[in-house]
């Protein structure tokens, strides 16, 4: 594999959850999701209901990947944000480095408020993501790391 795995410890995950919770409240959003640009969901907060957040994350990443390529075709580096307005609910996705912050909101909020609060939150989110990237790069397979404990039999048992 070319890339080091992304390792999110409990402390950083709690920090992300707190940020998402704060953004959800301040922007009066229904759901806020943090998604990796490759489609992996990282965290979410809000009234998820029966929303399939895994599929949503994959599609959001695909969406941004496609629109970023379109941007480059017209001479832009990328579109830093994308909005999809529906009749009842809308989606606002903003790009934060290697991640996406997706906000699902309805008539209880406005696009302007969501944009404003998301921009404010994005700085804090970016900081935590940098910390996660640093921790992941630093973490080697030492005696306390998870994968050091995993044996071949553990892996084989998944497929028995």
């Amino acid at each position: 594999m070319a890339e080091t795995p992304v390792i999110i410890n409990e402390l950083n995950f709690q920090k992300i959850q707190s940020l998402l919770q704060k953004l959800c409240v301040e922007s009066a959003a229904r759901v806020v999701l943090l998604v990796d640009r490759d489609g992996q969901p990282i965290a979410c907060h809000g009234d998820v209901g029966d929303m399939d957040t895994t599929s949503f994350s994959s599609l959001a990443a695909g969406n941004i990947a496609a629109t970023s390529s379109m941007a480059r075709l017209i001479g832009e580096e990328e579109f830093p944000a994308v909005v999809h307005e529906g009749e009842r609910e809308s989606i606002f996705i903003s790009v934060i480095g290697r991640s996406l912050l997706a906000v699902v909101f309805d008539r209880r909020s406005t696009l302007g408020l969501v944009k404003l609060r998301t921009k404010k939150a994005s700085f804090s989110v970016a900081k935590i993501l940098e910390e996660i990237a640093r921790d992941s790069a630093d973490q080697t397979l030492n005696e306390t790391s998870f994968f050091a404990e995993v044996t071949e039999d553990d892996i084989d048992s998944l497929f028995s």
Partner: protein
Amino acid sequence: MTFINYASREINCKIVYYGPGLCGKTTNLQYIYDSTAKNAKGKLISLATETDRTLFFDFMPLELGTVRGFKTRFHLYTVPGQVYYDASRKLILKGVDGVVFVADSQEERMDANIESLYNLEENLQEQGFDLMKLPYVLQLNKRDLPNVIPAEELKAELQRKDEPSFDAIATDGEGVFDTLKAVAKQVLTELRKG
């Protein structure tokens, strides 16, 4: 790119099914989806044309089980195989942890297989991956058709590095899970090796 979340105790990996148009990538995923218990899978998302040709990607999350208290989830993607969808294929390959190349065993599709394999190597290189170091499995699909190239001959042409290869008839499910297990096992083993 693998995600290991200590808080939710989850490992998430990405596997991409690659190959020429109509070779059976979507069929593989469809079979996996239909055969998997409800509690071990998410939805199968297919972004396809009106004639069911993959337009952007297919996607399904699959939970394989627990390793030392960590849920192992694999995100399975297929790429569109038609030649002119190369831009989309590049995007889907981002962050890949393991690749399955689905070859169409029919004689008349040999050139398409080779072109697609070359395209895979090129696109992986652009992303900074080296096929020689990436978890990788070869599937020889459509073994039930009358005009297929003998498996040994097909392997000789397409195998890149002694990767495991599996004969398959994806429409019946034959070889589908063997292929998936092989690539998933490689991914986890690589993670363990660091």
